[in-house]
Subunit: 299 residues, 2 copies
């Protein structure tokens, strides 16, 4: 019944486990290692085929996405801001190298241009090879890829984008940390049109509770309206949940109310498996302890 295994790494045909200082871990059973700790110019990238979650992308020892449970993440990250915006024509995504967010953004008929700024071409190439269901986003004719640092890129723009999505890795990785700081959000604010909306990964409301509070405060120091969307369930992440912060420069905006309601037919046409008009509204109805912790930044 008891078996020796390795933690924080691969054992072929066995288990991959990601432990946090928080004293909690998630584990996925490994069927086959496809890429083992390949060093790109910027980070360490692994891909394994899991027993039940399809191919799994790991960057710097953190699970980024699995083929089986990426859809709640990418659908909610893209559609919360896009269905809150009256006319999202020009969308920027910072990061999101796997392509899943692009795939979702491209489903919106109102969107005319999608710009992706991703520093690491190796992530894109890896996704195209091993995560084809996400990387199908790269086939969108609306897409322009900018291979450069997101902060330098965004600094060049003023009132340019309708929606800006920040799809980086965990805040505790050195490479991602700048994308969770006030300085970055000042640049995002400047690059956003006056009625623009942003959406950023805001981690788990339970295991990253302190971070979530700080990050809400940070974004609120730059944007007049901010909301935490919590109902995104992703079993392959530690804690099984992540949230997004959605914010806007438009002081009158009610982010909880989508401006376009979806019929069953719309949902079918857009091939949505998680997002619908009801989940849009519901994901802002915070559990009491989260509400008490961050609602003070709302008003």
């Amino acid at each position: 019944m008891s078996t020796d295994i390795e933690i924080e790494g691969f054992v072929l045909g066995r288990y991959f486990e990601q432990w946090e200082e928080e004293g909690i871990a998630v584990g996925l059973e490994v069927d086959e290692i496809i890429l083992e700790e390949e060093e790109s110019e910027y980070q360490e990238i692994s891909i394994f085929k899991s027993k039940t979650f399809g191919n799994v992308l790991v960057i710097d020892e953190v699970i980024q996405c699995t083929e089986r449970d990426e859809f709640p993440y990418h659908e909610m990250m893209a559609h919360l801001p896009l269905f809150s915006h009256p006319n999202p024509e020009k969308v920027l995504i910072i990061g999101g190298g796997d392509g899943g967010a692009i795939r979702e953004i491209a489903k919106h008929p109102l969107v005319k241009e999608i710009h992706q700024c991703e520093l690491d071409k190796f992530v894109i190439d890896t996704a195209k090879k091993y995560l084809p269901k996400s990387a199908i986003g790269y086939s969108s004719p609306k897409l322009t890829i900018h291979l450069e640092d997101g902060i330098k890129f965004i600094n060049r723009y003023s009132e340019e984008f309708d929606v800006i999505i920040t799809d980086c890795s965990d805040y505790d990785l050195d490479s991602s940390r700048p994308f969770y700081e006030q300085d970055y959000y000042k640049k995002v604010n400047k690059a956003l049109k006056p009625n623009g909306i942003i959406c950023s990964l805001a981690e788990c409301m339970f295991t990253d509770f302190e971070f979530m509070k700080t990050f809400t405060k940070t974004i609120r120091s730059v944007f007049p309206v901010v909301r935490y969307a919590y109902g995104i369930y992703i079993p392959g992440y530690i804690g099984g949940q992540c949230g997004f912060l959605v914010a806007t420069k438009d002081k009158t905006k009610v982010l909880e109310e989508p401006v376009r309601q979806l019929t069953d037919e719309d949902i079918k046409d857009m091939n949505l498996r998680y997002y619908n008009t009801a989940t849009h509204k519901a994901c802002f109805a915070l559990p009491q302890y989260v509400k008490e912790a961050i609602e003070k930044y709302y008003f």
Copy 2:
């Protein structure tokens, strides 16, 4: 960086991991083992002090609850049916040996009698010693404990209870399986008053997807109204989420709409940390793939 550890068991000062056939695991870091695989008359019970989740109760190698994240489970399990019921005076809980559900039920001023039917006295005694925050439920003067098999117990009653909560372990354990079957729910139906409401653990909508569908169908074969409440987020469970099936004999009932709305003061008085009127409504707004899988049993 790599360290040998044992899985599916304890290593003092290290890790407890629970793996599922689904190829996914959750792990909690162990500070101290308090009870190691003690055999009660019915099951194998362990308690460990975790690094960050407080004391953890494990029955037959499945995490039942942790001190830190039991509140979403017990609050939603109790308050969803109780706030949906116009006058819940007599409540029965089957299982729930840790006492957390009793603690929540006892907060309702309308409740006059709480009956708990728990087979295993050892679980109750263990909870009283090591899970005092849950076991405080046992101090309620409204409580009567019945130490016997839940199915035999419930079979003796007709139209007796306003609310019946089934708080058993996983459906794949031999001891719990009968509590997920039609025969049991026929007895529950008989024991329930005509406008009665039930609430039962219905597992994770992702990792237990097939079970969740079957179980919804089973309950719907006995009750005219059934709804799956999904927004219960528990990091210490595999998948990080569990749901409850709420059902009623009252064909006209809208379970999504609580009959009593809570003010901020009510919430404070009842010491609620997860449940509020908004989460009650929101937890029934299903993600699209869950809606498509089970909504056919709703109408």
